[in-house]
């Protein structure tokens, strides 16, 4: 029921930004077009390497997110492959029109790294924890939106988006997260990954909350509820076929995201099922509230994003079938 490429027990804790940087170092060995751009943001290991070895392919524009995104667009116009780095809240918030007009409108080959994505970012508080990101970004045409869940999927996703030609926004969460996948797990941009299979209900998760969803699936299995767990690492284009198949074969879906339940993963899944295979869709996520300071476990508890909350949502959904 659990696929063999899912680690049991879970593997080492690592921050997604670190995993991303490790992969960028690998990619830069063969790709001489990569340019790293920052908005007064920590370099990471890749940035430090570029500072030493490719100083003409690394720029920091300071605390100026609009200039960050549009300068990247100009670099793409000049034939290069720019990756921008700043806090997601400020990329999406302060440079929304730039993402939409300077990158997406012309399908320029710019990769926007949404650092410190989502609600689960300790200490920083409500001004920095973004809840509106998935909803705001998926509604921009031509923009691929991706959301890996662990260090291994972060690396595979980083490689995939570098190989894809066109605008991409990549969600990278702040805290260290457990490794869920074996190195060779099946990864394809645009295709949901099945972690566990079952026909009582489906959990569709995106981003770092996958490990909580996996814990929930394990708990439910012990009570005889066999859930299918899908990692929706590509939010746009979303894997409609996997959603429809899950709806038809399991009859109830619970979505999980560290993002608003309005218009995010939950909204996207509900759009697909409503048109193709109507089933109850229960959205676990941030209930239209701003964030606050706290540790990640405290935030999960306060915003009802623990494995326990996911289990409860599945139990209720199964009753509605």
């Amino acid at each position: 029921m659990k696929q063999n490429y899912v680690l049991e027990p879970l593997g080492e804790m690592k921050a997604m930004y670190q995993a991303y940087n490790e992969e960028m170092i690998e990619l830069s060995k063969k790709n001489g077009k990569i340019v790293l751009l920052y908005g007064d943001f920590p370099r990471g290991a890749a940035g430090e390497l570029f500072q030493k070895e490719h100083p003409d392919r690394i720029y920091d524009v300071g605390i100026a997110e609009a200039n960050l995104i549009t300068t990247a667009a100009g670099l793409a116009g000049g034939g290069y492959l720019p990756f921008t780095h700043c806090h997601s809240i400020f990329a999406v918030g302060r440079a929304y029109n730039q993402i939409r007009q300077n990158v997406a409108f012309d399908k320029l080959n710019v990769k926007i790294v949404l650092c410190n994505s989502g609600m689960l970012w300790s200490f920083m508080g409500g001004s920095h924890q973004i809840i509106e990101e998935i909803a705001a970004m998926r509604v921009i045409p031509n923009l691929v939106l991706v959301s890996p869940s662990d260090p291994i999927s972060t690396k595979k996703m980083t490689r995939a988006i570098a190989e894809y030609t066109g605008p991409v926004a990549l969600r990278i969460s702040a805290p260290p997260v457990p490794t869920v996948y074996r190195d060779d797990f099946p990864f394809e941009l645009g295709k949901a990954v099945t972690l566990t299979d079952g026909s009582d209900a489906t959990i569709i998760s995106t981003g770092m909350v996958l490990s909580d969803a996996l814990e929930a699936a394990d708990t439910l299995a012990k009570e005889g509820i066999k859930v299918r767990l899908l990692d929706m690492h590509t939010l746009k284009p979303i894997d409609e076929a996997a959603i429809i198949k899950a709806a038809k074969e399991t009859g109830a879906i619970v979505t999980v995201e560290d993002s608003s339940i309005l218009g995010g993963l939950g909204g996207a899944v509900a759009e697909v099922t409503a048109e193709n295979a109507p089933v109850p869709v229960k959205r676990v996520g941030i209930k239209d509230r701003f964030g606050q300071s706290g540790t990640v476990p405290e935030l999960k508890e306060e915003y009802e994003l623990t494995a326990r909350h996911i289990v409860q949502a599945v139990r209720e959904s199964v009753k509605k079938k």
Binding site: A66, N67, T70, T71, G77, G78, N97, Q98, Q101
Partner: protein, 281 residues
């Protein structure tokens, strides 16, 4: 040093052609930004028909100089310049602003030669900065190890447009990175959409502001070809900092009876159309 008289005559003629073609476009589209299109027309003529290194037969030539018109609503003289240069057929003019047209109401990259999809003011200078940075990557180095940029980037910005904060983000970054292959040209026609720039949002003193940002700053009459060409050539020579040419212009320059009205976005009545073509004979 004065430029050849024949060159000045040629540019004067080209500027007239692109203004006339712009009038045809605005009539065909039933709307357009005649004022701002005309105030920048001489600068565009100088760039497109003399100063810039480019090849209409080869719009994707990697080392072409770039023209980025950040005030992209003033698209008609931009389209007319690229059409006159031979980037595309002038047949496209009559569908300007129509459903399905290649020539959309604000410039877009789908048009051969056009580098920048504008319409959202204040962003083009950042785009130009990115293109200018790209020119320095993989470039040959001079004797002191500095990259010799593969191409230069010219960016026309508006004075109303300069209200946008992002303009100044690009200004500070271009200075920080000493982007000396970037030339911004301010089409300083003293008007914005809803009134004079002084009434709407007074940004005096202009020249002092740019000098305070430490760009290589020049101030010229934007309708004097001698002055335009000299300023562009000076900008090419100065190393180590980006360049701003503050060009004093007149909105709607070229049709004397239109010049003192704020013809920002307008339809051309049959009378205005005839008046314009008469003035541009």
């Amino acid at each position: 040093m004065a430029h050849d008289e024949k060159l000045i005559q040629k540019l004067t003629e080209k500027a007239k052609i692109i203004r006339r073609d712009a009038v045809e476009m605005i009539k065909a589209g039933d709307s357009g930004w005649i004022g701002g299109s005309f105030s920048q027309a001489d600068i565009i003529a100088a760039l497109m028909f003399h100063h810039m290194k480019h090849d209409p037969k080869n719009p994707d030539w990697e080392d072409r100089d770039r023209l980025i018109v950040s005030k992209a609503h003033c698209c008609e003289t931009v389209y007319a310049a690229f059409g006159e240069a031979g980037y595309f057929s002038k047949e496209l003019y009559k569908s300007y602003g129509h459903m399905g047209a290649t020539l959309q109401a604000h410039t877009e990259r789908i048009v051969p030669g056009i580098e920048y999809s504008g319409g959202s003011l204040g962003q083009g200078l950042s785009f130009a900065l990115g293109e200018a940075l790209a020119a320095r990557i993989d470039a040959p180095k001079d004797s002191s190890g500095r990259p010799v940029p593969r191409y230069r980037v010219y960016c026309i910005i508006g004075d109303g447009e300069s209200n946008e904060g992002q303009i100044w983000e690009a200004v500070m970054a271009a200075l920080h990175y000493k982007v000396d292959n970037l030339v911004a040209i301010l089409d300083h026609n003293k008007f914005q959409s809803s009134g004079t720039i002084e009434e709407r949002m007074n940004m005096m003193p202009w020249v002092d502001k740019w000098k305070a940002f430490a760009w290589d700053t020049a101030e010229i009459n934007g309708h004097d070809f001698e002055a335009i060409l000299t300023a562009l050539e000076n900008a090419d020579r100065v190393k180590g900092k980006p360049h701003i040419i503050i060009a004093h212009t007149t909105k709607c320059k070229g049709v004397p009876s239109f010049e003192h009205k704020n013809l920002h976005f307008c339809k051309l009545s049959d009378e205005m159309y005839a008046e314009a073509l008469e003035a541009l004979k």
